[in-house]
Each structure stands twice: as C-alpha cells, then as structure tokens.
C-alpha cells in the first residue's frame, strides 16, 4: 500500500477522463473523488508510514548524469498533500454550486483536475527536473483557468500576465538545473552538492531558486500578475491564487532550505523581499475598490510574511503559516464568491454593502476568516503561525521583526475595511439571493480549520523538524497579545473609517507623477528599442554575423 502513495498525483486522472468524456448535467461530480484521494494519501502517510518513500525510474533523461524520474514523499510533502486535498475538495464542492449554470463548467472541472495533478506532482517531486515539469504545468493550468471566460474583456490579457511572470520563474528554475554540476538535482541531497565548479557557488543556485519562487508567489517586482488573476472565477482564485499554487514558491524555499542556509546573503535578500512586499501589498490592498483585488493584495502580503520567515532561517515557521493561511484565505475568497454570486457578479465594494442581513452566514464566516487573518490569539489558527513568524524574525533580524509587527496593524486595517464595507455599511436594499448548502458547507469546514488548525502546530513541528529544533509554542504570550491588539485596533479603526466614508472608502494614491513618469520613460525606451527590428534584411544579417563573430571569439578566448 505504501508503495502506491508517491503516485498520488495520478489520482485525479480517472475523474478527469470521466468528466471530460461524460454527458451528464452535473459534470463535476465525477471529479470529486480526485482531491479526496489526494487528501487520503496525505493522511495515510501521516498516520501510517512516517518513513520517506521514494520512487526512482532510472535513465528517464539519458543525457543528464543522473537523469532519473524521482518522487519523494516525506513529512513536508504529506502535509502539503493533505492541505491541497482538503482545500481542493472544499473548492470542488463549492464549484458545483457556484458554476451551476455556467455553460463551460465541464471544461472548468477538467482544468481543475489538470491543476491538481500538476500541483501534486510538483509537491511529490524528488528532483528538480520533475519539479520543473510540475511547476510549468501548474503555470499553464493557472493561465487556462484565469482566462476561463474567454469572451470577457481583459481575461486573456490577465492570463498573459500570469504566463509572463511564470516564464521568468521557469527560466530561472531551468537555469538552476542547467548550472548544477551534475545530475537532475536530487532534492533531498541538494545542499551536499559540491558547488565548486559553479561560479558563485551555492549562492547562484539559491538566487535562481529564489527568483523562481518569487515569480510563482508573486513577490517583489513579479507581483503584477496576482491582482490581475482575479479575472478568473472565484473558486479558481481561492484554490490556486490563495492556497496552493502561490504557496508552491514557499514550498520550494522550504524544500531547499538547507541549500539556502549555505548562503546568508541570499537569505537576507529573501527576508527583505518578503517584508517589503508584505508592507507594500498591505498598503496596496487599502487602495483597491474591487473586493477580490483587495483580497489578492492580502495574499501577496501574507506570502511576503512567509518569505520573510524563510529568509530569517525559520523554514518550518514559514511552512506552518502556509498551512494555516491556506484555510483562512480560501475561506475568505469563497465567502467573497458567495457575496459576488449573490449580488449577480458585482465586485465593486462601493456597490456591495450592508449584506449582513441578507447573508448572515456569510457575514459570520467572513468574520472568522478576518479574525484568523489578523491573528486573534487563542481562538484562531492565524495567530499561532503569525506570532511564530514575528518571534523568529525578532530573534534573527530584529528590524524585519519590527516591520512585520507594524504590518499587523496594516493587516487589521485592510481586513477591517473589506469586512465592514461589504457587511456593515451601506444600503441593505440590494437584491441578493441566498447561497445554497453546497456553497456554505465547504466554507464552514474551512472556517473550522481556520479556528482549529493552529493547535496542530506542535505535532507538525515534531514531524517535520524533530523535537530539538522546534520553536516554542505559546498559547498566550506578550508578543501574541501585542500583535493581536494591534490587529484588532486596525480592524476597528477601519470600521470607523468605513462608517465615515462609506463602502467605497479607498486610500488615495500617492506618487502618481512618479509612476506616470516612470511608465513614460519605459514606453519611450521601448519605442527606441523597437527600431532594431526595422524590417531591413541587412540589419538582421549583420546581427547574425556579429553573433557568429562573438561566438567564435568566445570560443577562442575562453578555455
């Protein structure tokens, strides 16, 4: 039985085929066992084997020194399987109701199945080459799902943005594989490779892996695709762009944390990239007039928190935050989907308001999710993980820690703005229709997770890092109280702000002349660069000759 567990990524395939070739009126039902099996595989490993399981098919890539197809199922992968399976099951059940009268729902479930297969393959990968296969496949299915409603304006452009960022990440990962001294980059032993031949050593490989992870998790300058990805259906936003795919970058950082530990400079860059993205995205969320985009910036901010945790040398804490974040962020997105579905597709905050009477269940669930996001101590899981992140940062790099603590206040502000604008302020006379049970039930499950998952922390720590290096878990600490207090302060301050300004309260933009000037400069330089391709044959031929000359010169000069 245990030998089959690493092949869990193939579990959604029968459902995929059944959905693709079926003819019934409820297309998604056949796909439902897929994520359930993935979840079961993770739980089976966690309750049973607890030994790393490997699969190696040799000579899969004969031109590489060690080109084997390797799968690796250990504690980290098993927990990810459980997370992916659970969130995906909830999203599938939810989608049965959400996409009930969408003409393309059969294609939707097929694409979701493709995504699950690729994501699980990514998680179960034993070496970098198999990881790259899963990585690229996840990017493609993300594009197909973002651009799901092809006929709507702007969705394909949004998908192209996701592809562009993914291309940068894929190229970085491919370059990292190419630069490895030999073999396909076995993940379990990556940090023991002799990097003497690589210029820059382990730091180069680590930097490339960081670029790949930042592209997938939308950190730093590569953030642009995530807010645009909200053009896709809300279940897609919940599954892919909140809980799982964007977490793949963090997963890569955790998987290769031993390699990162070899280069302190790259770790410092990771930490600062995370904290700066976290703060900038939190401010950005305050400026969004669109409900889902506000949540997207919130995801960016929380991912920055995870990167910061990984950068200060606490990969377990980063993973634990990924674990709890999956539940409450998916919860928040699915509730947003309930609201948007009820309001017939209205996503602008200024038009949504006062929905606590029409959608009481949604209001309560969103409140639970918001409290988890802020990090209300004891009651919510988010508190446990966030406090651990701030503790680890304060211990290793105090400045990062203080900035993250300030970020908690911003988190409270934007979370409160979103909750108060949708549920409290505004006219209650909006015509909405209540959601069905198939949409509320999975959200309730996720809410239970948002409350309770934090208590699994010590068990996770024992499993993943051993008892010796595990962080201390405090149910109640001064830091936790301070963070929780700051968060609540922000939450209610936002409530007062929304009460004063209305549901459409947004932070006014600052620095517009600077942004416009930068954009104009980039546009002008691109027009100048375009003149290289002027259509004249001589120019192209000359460039070919110059390239040939450069190649020959390089082969003469370099040994």
């Amino acid at each position: 039985m245990n030998a089959w567990l690493p092949w869990a990524f193939l579990a959604p395939l029968p459902g995929l085929l059944a959905t693709a070739c079926g003819r019934g009126h409820r297309p998604g039902l056949a796909s439902l066992p897929g994520p359930l099996l993935v979840f079961a595989a993770g739980i089976l490993w966690l309750c049973g084997a607890q030994q790393p399981l490997t699969v190696r098919l040799e000579h899969w890539l004969p031109w590489l020194g060690d080109g084997a197809f390797a799968l690796y199922l250990d504690g980290l992968a098993a927990v990810m399987l459980a997370v992916i399976g659970a969130v995906a099951t909830c999203v599938y059940v939810y989608s049965l109701g959400y996409m009930h009268d969408d003409p393309g729902r059969r294609r939707f479930f097929v694409l979701l199945d493709v995504f699950i297969v690729s994501m699980v393959l990514l998680v179960l990968a034993g070496n970098l080459v198999v990881l790259l296969v899963g990585w690229t496949a996840v990017g493609i299915s993300s594009y197909l799902l973002i651009a799901f409603w092809r006929e709507r304006a702007g969705t394909i452009a949004a998908g192209m943005q996701a592809l562009a960022a993914n291309a940068i990440g894929d190229a970085a990962l491919l370059l990292a594989i190419a630069l490895l001294p030999h073999g396909a980059g076995d993940l379990a032993t990556l940090h023991t490779v002799q990097f003497g031949g690589v210029s820059g050593g382990a730091a180069t490989i680590a930097t490339l892996l960081l670029v790949a992870a930042a592209a997938k998790s939308a950190q730093g300058p590569l953030y642009f695709w995530l807010p645009s990805a909200m053009a896709g259906p809300t279940p897609v936003s919940a599954l892919i762009h909140a809980a799982t795919m964007v977490a793949a970058g963090v997963y890569l950082l955790c998987r290769t944390s031993a390699l990162f530990a070899l280069s302190p400079a790259v770790m410092a860059i990771t930490a600062w990239l995370g904290v700066l993205t976290s703060l900038a995205a939190a401010i950005g969320s305050l400026q969004q007039p669109n409900y889902k985009r506000g949540l997207a910036y919130s995801t960016l901010s929380q991912l920055g928190l995870m990167f910061a945790a990984a950068g200060v040398g606490a990969p377990f804490v980063a993973f634990f935050h990924l674990f709890t974040h999956a539940s409450f962020k998916a919860l928040l997105f699915l509730v947003a989907g309930i609201v948007i579905h009820a309001a017939d597709g209205e996503e602008r905050l200024e038009r949504l308001g006062g929905l606590r009477h029409a959608l009481p269940g949604a209001a309560v669930l969103a409140f639970i999710g918001s409290m988890a996001l802020i990090g209300l101590p004891v009651v919510t899981a988010g508190a446990f993980s966030k406090d651990l992140v701030i503790e680890a940062a304060l211990a290793q790099q105090p400045l990062v820690g203080w900035l993250l603590l300030g970020g908690v206040l911003l988190t409270g502000l934007y979370t409160g703005r979103l909750w108060f604008a949708v549920f409290l302020k505004g006219d209650a006379g909006r015509h909405v229709h209540a959601p069905g049970a198939s949409m509320l039930a999975p959200v309730a499950v996720l809410a239970a997770g948002a409350i309770g998952l934090g208590w699994l922390g010590p068990a996770l720590a024992r499993l993943l890092v051993g008892a010796g290096t595990a962080p201390e878990f405090h149910v109640w600490s001064s830091l936790g109280a301070a963070a929780g207090g700051l968060g609540l302060l922000g939450f209610f301050a936002a409530g007062w702000w929304v009460r004063a300004r209305g549901s459409g309260a947004v932070l006014p933009p600052f620095g517009v002349p600077w942004v416009a000037g930068t954009a104009a400069t980039i546009a002008r330089s691109s027009r100048a660069l375009v003149r290289v391709q002027d259509g004249r044959l001589v120019g192209y031929v000359f460039l070919c000759v110059v390239g040939t000359a450069a190649a020959v010169t390089a082969s003469v000069l370099l040994p």
Binding site: M230, V515, A519, L537, V545
Partner: protein
Amino acid sequence: MIAVAMSPTAVVLVTAVSLFGLGIAGLLSRRSPIAMLMSVELMLNAGNLLFVLGGHWHGNAGGIAAATLVLVLGAAEAVVGLALALALFRTRPTADVDTPPPTPAPAPAEPTSEVRAAVSAAVLPDRPAEVNA
C-alpha cells in the same frame, strides 16, 4: 617556384577560411537578394572543404558523407530562397533589399502624454475606470 613546404592541409585551410570570409563580405555588401544567396553558397562550399579535410584526418568517409548532406541542404536552401526572392520582388520596381516596400507605415504617437493620461485615468479613484477587472 611554389614552396614545397606548403602542405596541402594548409592550402585547404587557407582557401576555406578565405572563401568563408568572401561569402560574408558578399552577404553584407550586395543589394540584390540573388547575389546574397550566391554568397551564402560560397560559405557552404567553404564548409564542405573543411568537412572533407576532417574526413581525411579521421581516416574514414564520414567527412564526404557529411559534405554530401550539406550539398543537399544547399540545394534545398537555394530553391526556397530563390522562390522567395522571386515572389517578393516580382511586384516591386527593383530587386533591391535596401528599398522598403511601397506601403506607408503609420507614424507612432508621442509616448509621454498618452501614457501620462492613461496612468492618471487608471489610478485616480474618482473616475470609474477600475471596474470588475
């Protein structure tokens, strides 16, 4: 009298490199597409000479086989290139690579002002530009 110290290898190498250089010079300086293709054929011949020389160095017929395949390649390339050149330049007054085709291209607008306007429209919240995106 020709110095006998000059070996056949050196002669062939010098010839091949010189022909390759002549081919590049012709490719870059000629204005007729047919002449450019003929210069490319010069370069192919130079490569073939090197292939045959290499075959001698290795002591087998592999160089000649490769040169035969290059010959086929040159034939295919000449056929397609000539068809392309003829098809492109049939409707033009002169078969000249440097003369642009007689269709006018629209002049691009000044980038700065339109970009500023677009950014301002997208960012400022009092204009309802940011809808269900």
